[in-house]
């Protein structure tokens, strides 16, 4: 397998990712923001495909694009009393922007200096079948724990959002 991936595809997907994030942060409508988040997530799924991680791309689409977006939209709708509440004044947040910019800048500097270890590239990328095999053998215990976490989270979420208790 090659040491790099297709630059054009990367550029387009990266643009879509960052553009979606920027739009999400700059739009004044919360509902629009949720849809821009969805767009970012889908573009990220495309990046996973580019990185030969088909399974993850699938999971990304299912979990983020499907479940999380729907959840977010539901919450937005449940917490809006009027349609106009969805539109909020833009909050520039200069301090946050400065901090984030500093952080990002420092990261970029660090990345530009980083030395990666030499790559061990096999002939062909591993398939989804390989992925499944390893997940359920070597990573079986963590997988089970993760399931448990999800279950607890589910129960907790139901508990917290359960309306009639109080």
């Amino acid at each position: 397998m090659p040491e790099t991936v297709n630059g054009i595809a990367f550029f387009l997907l990266a643009f879509a990712t960052i553009g979606g994030a920027v739009m999400m942060l700059s739009t004044r409508n919360v509902v629009h923001a949720a849809f821009w988040l969805l767009e970012t997530m889908l573009a990220t799924a495309g990046l996973y495909l580019l990185l030969d991680a088909e399974f993850l791309a699938l999971v990304q689409v299912l979990v983020y694009a499907g479940a999380v977006s729907v959840l977010v939209l539901f919450t937005i709708m449940l917490t809006l009393r009027r349609r106009e509440d969805a539109v909020r004044p833009f909050e520039p947040g200069w301090g946050g922007m400065a901090l984030a910019a500093l952080f990002g800048g420092a990261m970029l500097v660090a990345i530009s200096r980083a030395q990666l270890p030499a790559a061990k590239l096999p002939e062909a990328p591993p398939t989804v079948a390989d992925f499944g095999r390893v997940l359920f053998t070597q990573w079986a215990v963590p997988f089970e724990i993760a399931s448990l976490v999800l279950l607890v989270a589910l129960v907790g979420a139901v508990w917290w959002s359960g309306g009639d208790r109080r």
């Binding site: 200069w94 301090g95 946050g96 901090l99 952080f103 420092a106 990261m107 500097v109 660090a110």
Partner: protein
């Protein structure tokens, strides 16, 4: 000649007496101000008479000297010095000043604040006299600025109305733009010569062309502001919001001519430069023409006269730019007389017609014969018709241009002369002929008419004294020259005839629409004052206000933000070792302890209870560590 010191001192004293008093006393003491200026006039006549015999050969005589500062090896002195030019100027200033003050007694007698008006007039007179009697540029500059103050006070005399208030500020600021140039000129002058004295700067110092050009252009810039030359002329028409007699004194006869006086005084520097003379010529020529054109489209009587003043001052600059010092000064003198006459006449007209708009006037001649005659004399002088004074002085300027072969300037000057005659005719015929539009027209009181009659007499006579005056000032060129005189009279007659053709033949109602339509674009541009005001407003004033507001936000947001950010960071650091007990030391008088208390209080503020604040703190710390790593190159 010690009495010369009293010439500016008397008006200054009358200001010092009037200004601090309560209003009622001030109003009651108005005669003091008039008496002071009359006394100054008497002394000026004496000084002039004493200087006359020697003519321009006479040595400058120091009448008063007081060193007010010793600085860096130089002595800065306040001196009152009489030489032919300053004696003549003092005479003109006190003469016009007296006329205006006498006239004002009648014109302003209904004003509540008449005392303050006279106080400001007195201060102005004192400053102008100090200026013309100065023998160094610093004193000249200081008096110059004080005049600016008086101009500001008098333009804004009716400050309860927004118009005069805005006009006064505009006048002060616009002239101060020029004054910055003047001040810089003084700096360059001092750096080169080490003195401000006329003797040292003008005669003893050997000027390098570059330095001379710098100084001359900067002084010229100052003069352009004060004398309302293009492109700094915008304040003068607005300044007409002030009382009319004040306009006559300040914005027609004396203060605005101070720029001409300055350039005239600094002539040796201009001559050493050469370039500066050309620039003066160009500025003057453009101003003469543009001012005349603008005057021709105004409807407000005073604004016609204001633009006319701008144009005539341009004429004086043309003379100076061509090297005709005497011609310029002579035109200054005659202009002072006939223009103040015209302004005083305008005041009478406005009182009688209860409007400043020419379109609502007409037929004043029948009811106000004296005013008409006096105003007519002034108008003819302005148009340059012999034997009025204006003809002689304008003729000398044209002669200088011919003599120096400045034919382009000559052409522009003749064009300006034509336009001048045209708008003079327009003004005269609109106001004094045709059907009356106002009832109960009455001639003015004697205290207003007398000064006008005197000025009109001077205007009619002083032209014949021209050659003698020129000799007195030391003129360079013999004049009048018949050919030039014929040309000038011809142009003036043509202009007057054109004006009569359009405005004088009317029987019932005047219709100028065809004329306006024929000159559509030009007329629009002229009626918008050639876009000068719009340009300044949109490209200087408003951007500056926006910039200032933006800087204020920048100061609060960025510079102060950095400070406060540093403060918060410091608090975060001290929070790490939060060992203060904030309450234990509360109420301690000790300064350091109190600072700790207060900072403890402030430290508590970071426990805001908001998730994002904690998050910011966390990432702030991470960023710090990262920056440290990046800087250390890990």
């Amino acid at each position: 000649m010690g009495y010369v010191a009293l010439i500016p001192l008397l008006p200054a004293l009358s200001f010092a007496v009037l200004a601090p008093l309560p209003r009622a006393w001030r109003n009651w003491l108005v005669p003091v101000s008039v008496a002071a200026v009359v006394a100054s006039l008497g002394l000026s006549v004496a000084a002039f008479a004493a200087t006359w015999p020697g003519g321009h050969e006479a040595h400058a005589q120091t009448a008063f000297e007081a060193v007010f500062a010793h600085i860096g090896g130089a002595e800065l002195a306040f001196r009152l010095v009489v030489d032919p030019v300053s004696a003549l100027m003092a005479l003109v200033v006190t003469l016009v000043g007296t006329a205006v003050q006498v006239y004002s007694v009648g014109y302003m007698h209904r004003e509540e604040r008449i005392g303050w008006y006279f106080a400001a007039l007195s201060l102005f007179t004192a400053a102008m006299l100090t200026l013309v009697l100065a023998d160094n540029f610093l004193q000249l500059y200081m008096a110059w600025e004080v005049m600016g103050l008086c101009s500001y006070l008098l333009i804004g005399f009716w400050h309860q109305q927004p118009g005069p208030r805005a006009a006064s500020m505009k006048a002060f600021l616009t002239t101060r733009v020029g004054d910055v140039g003047f001040a810089l000129g003084l700096l360059v002058m001092y750096a080169n010569v080490g003195s401000f004295d006329f003797a040292a700067v003008l005669h003893e110092h050997a000027w390098q062309p570059a330095a001379a050009t710098a100084v001359a252009l900067l002084l010229l810039f100052g003069a352009m502001g004060k004398s309302a030359q293009l492109p700094l002329h915008v304040w003068l028409p607005d300044a007409m919001a002030g009382p009319t007699p004040a306009s006559a004194l300040i914005h027609a006869a004396t203060m605005v001519a101070a720029g001409v006086y300055l350039v005239g005084r600094a002539m040796p520097i201009f001559e050493a430069s050469g370039v500066a003379l050309t620039v003066t010529l160009i500025v003057g020529a453009l101003t003469a023409l543009v001012g005349g054109l603008l005057a021709a489209v105004q409807h407000d009587v005073k604004k016609v006269l204001a633009y006319s003043t701008i144009s005539q001052l341009g004429y004086m600059f043309v003379a100076l730019g061509a090297g005709g010092f005497v011609a310029g000064m002579y035109h200054l003198v005659t202009h002072a007389f006939f223009k103040s006459l015209l302004f005083l006449g305008a005041g009478v007209i406005i009182h009688a017609a209860h409007t400043q708009d020419m379109r609502e006037m007409g037929g004043l001649a029948k009811h106000m014969p004296v005013t008409t005659a006096a105003f007519g004399a002034g108008a003819l002088a302005l148009a340059g018709v012999p034997p009025m004074a204006g003809f002689f002085s304008k003729d000398e300027i044209l002669t200088v241009l011919v003599h120096e072969h400045q034919y382009a300037a000559l052409a522009i000057a003749l064009a300006a002369a034509f336009v001048t005659a045209f708008y003079v005719a327009r003004l005269f015929f609109r106001v004094f002929t045709g059907p009356p539009q106002t009832e109960h027209l009455k001639e003015a009181h004697v205290e207003m008419l007398a000064p006008m009659v005197v000025l009109a007499a001077i205007t009619a006579v002083v032209g014949f004294a021209g050659p003698a005056l020129g000799e007195f000032l030391g003129h360079e060129i013999p004049w009048p020259e018949p050919g030039v005189a014929a040309l000038s009279v011809g142009v003036a007659a043509a202009g007057l005839a054109a004006g009569w053709w359009v405005y004088g033949r009317r029987t019932v109602v005047l219709n100028t629409r065809p004329l306006k339509e024929r000159f559509g674009v030009l007329y629009t541009a002229l009626s918008l004052k050639l876009y000068f005001d719009l340009t300044y407003d949109n490209f200087v004033v408003k951007p500056y206000a926006r910039l200032a507001a933006w800087l204020a936000r920048f100061d609060l947001g960025v510079i102060d933000g950095v400070v406060n950010g540093a403060g918060r960071l410091w608090q975060a650091l001290s929070a790490a070792g939060s060992w203060f007990d904030t309450r234990a030391v509360d109420g301690a008088v000790n300064g350091a302890a109190a600072a700790v208390v207060a900072s403890g209080e402030r430290v508590r503020a970071i426990q805001v209870g908001r998730v994002q604040a904690y998050q910011a703190l966390m990432f702030g710390a991470i960023v710090l560590v990262m920056l440290l790593l990046v800087v250390k190159g890990v």
